[in-house]
């Protein structure tokens, strides 16, 4: 028998969702200050309206849903998935008011793309977007990469007990530190350290290349935010190609790789366990995967002689492979070049990179390299089992921060999530083909959206059919949250309708 949610359940969900919206309003103050500083008064008004919306709606929810009850697992999962949808709606308000997005759906698309660190965009005339709106786009990406609710955990949640369901609901299963609030604060520490380092390096590079000081600092900050969070938003329509700077590309590559590392691995390395980098199943699997898939992609590129030189192959070929594998979506080529210059073999290599993704408990998307590593080990173990006597006992271990016995439960969980991702990729592909796009391009764009990568072969434009925009929004949302909290929300809606 399915139990219908009670009023108390809605109060709890409403209160925590209200806190998140309230917090979002405060975050909008930063782009508001940027607008005032640079004299962008039209943009300032957009953010004043956005801030007011968030504060009024947020405080309204908090006051009307006031309760002293703590979050349970069920509530936490629903709060996370609902909060992400609400963040998308409220985050889209200042974007839509700028008139750089054709309709509110397009603004919602970009807001979800930002929070989910995807990087696909429907903005029109990005090159003339205000500094304030660019700051908001990149701030959404930075906050989303950390986890909207992690921000809440750091500042708004009282106790660790309430925090755990929220933390897990945002697809972070690993606790870096024993207490999830401490874990959230460590994640912020790492992110801020690399943000400062990345901003300084990129700003200096841009300034040395002739960019004015204020633009260098802003571009350095925004690119560092989006590279570390493996997001892929850029302040110019040509993406990283705009800068035409090898040093810039190298720094962004380093930031993408660093951002795709598991936060538990960061903690281990920062605590002095430097050998972890050679022993960890994620780093070993990632290295193997990048080597094999770049071999495949590079071979495909050599077939078409797209980039005949070593440096051009590195800057155009390897850069896209790293961008895809880390789930960033930064491009040093035009989207049309994927269609006209890249062979189907190299496109397939990129699709595999996007689908696999990078470290679990990182800012990256996709199936996650840890699950691929676990499933691969399970496969080898099963092959070994068929070759050994029946009575042989095989205990398989993997090293991920510590030695872990690879049990059936972990393998089953990894395989189920992998299947869910594959289903999501195929679902988007079917909708893409149904709306008239060729199969390989529909598959490319679908995987890019669902794995929160952001590379585009040209399908994602404002002229895209609305049904495909809604499909990609759903894919970005479900892919980012890794399904569990999304199913919890859908289950609650089902229980509301059918429950007793």
């Amino acid at each position: 028998m399915i139990l219908r949610p009670r009023l108390q359940d809605f109060r709890i969900i409403g209160q925590y969702s209200g806190r998140m919206i309230f917090g979002l309003g405060f975050l909008m103050l930063l782009p508001l200050f940027v607008a005032i500083y640079f004299g962008e008064f039209d943009a300032a008004l957009d953010f004043v309206i956005g801030v007011c919306f968030c504060l009024i709606a947020g405080s309204g929810l908090i006051m009307s849903c006031f309760t002293r009850k703590e979050l349970t697992w069920k509530h936490g999962m629903v709060v996370v998935s609902l909060s992400w949808l609400l963040a998308m709606f409220f985050g889209a308000v200042p974007l839509y008011l700028s008139r750089h997005w054709a309709c509110f759906l397009d603004a919602c698309f970009d807001a979800m793309s930002g929070f989910a660190t995807t990087g696909l965009t429907l903005v029109q005339d990005l090159d003339h977007l205000s500094y304030a709106h660019n700051m908001w786009r990149h701030l959404m990406m930075y906050i989303g990469g950390q986890g909207i609710m992690i921000v809440a955990l750091t500042f708004l949640v009282r106790g660790a007990e309430s925090a755990l369901p929220i933390y897990v609901g945002e697809a972070r299963e690993e606790k870096v530190l024993p207490n999830v609030v401490q874990t959230a604060r460590f994640i912020w520490l790492v992110s801020l350290v690399y943000l400062v380092m990345g901003t300084l390096a990129l700003s200096f590079t841009a300034f040395s290349g002739g960019m004015p000081t204020d633009r260098s600092i802003l571009h350095g900050l925004w690119i560092a935010m989006a590279a570390w969070d493996t997001g892929g938003f850029a302040p110019q329509s040509q993406n990283i190609l705009y800068y035409h700077n090898f040093t810039f590309e190298l720094i962004t590559m380093a930031l993408m790789l660093l951002g795709s590392l598991n936060f538990s691995l960061h903690f281990a390395l920062w605590s002095g366990k430097r050998k972890e980098i050679f022993r960890n199943i994620e780093t070993v699997s990632f290295f193997i995967s990048v080597t094999v898939l770049f071999g495949l992609t590079g071979f495909g590129l050599m077939l078409t002689r797209a980039y005949p030189g070593v440096i051009s192959l590195f800057r155009k070929g390897f850069y896209q492979v790293i961008s895809a594998h880390t789930g960033t979506g930064y491009m040093t080529i035009h989207p049309e070049q994927f269609v006209h210059q890249w062979s189907p073999l190299s496109l397939l290599g990129i699709i595999f990179c996007m689908a696999i993704g990078a470290g679990a408990c990182s800012t990256a998307g996709g199936i996650k390299i840890l699950r691929i590593g676990m499933i691969s080990r399970a496969l080898f173990r099963d092959i070994k089992r068929t070759m050994l006597p029946r009575s042989a006992v095989i205990i398989d271990k993997m090293h991920h921060i510590k030695d872990i016995v690879l049990g059936e439960k972990q393998i089953r969980q990894a395989a189920l999530i992998m299947l869910a991702y594959i289903f999501l990729y195929l679902m988007g592909t079917v909708v893409g083909v149904w709306t008239g796009y060729p199969l390989r391009l529909a598959l490319f764009e679908s995987v890019s959206a669902a794995a929160n990568v952001g590379l585009s072969c040209g399908i994602t434009t404002p002229a895209m059919p609305a049904v495909l925009k809604v499909t990609y929004i759903f894919q970005m949302w479900a892919g980012r949250l890794e399904f569990v909290s999304v199913f919890a929300l859908l289950g609650t809606i089902f229980a509301l309708v059918k429950g007793k």
Binding site: A254, L257, L258, H266, W270, T291, G298, V310, L313, F318
Partner: protein, 42 residues
């Protein structure tokens, strides 16, 4: 207490250096692979 904090910071700095070195190694390996691909396909 101050010594503990200093030791922690030292470990963190070495950790950051290790991570950055790892990215450099990956990029150099990729350059080597690019060279192999170009040389193998004259």
């Amino acid at each position: 207490m101050a010594m503990t904090g200093y030791v922690k910071m030292q470990k963190a700095v070495l950790g950051i250096a290790t991570e950055i070195l790892m990215t450099v190694v990956i990029m150099l390996s990729a350059l080597g692979l690019c060279w192999l691909l170009v040389v193998a396909n004259p």
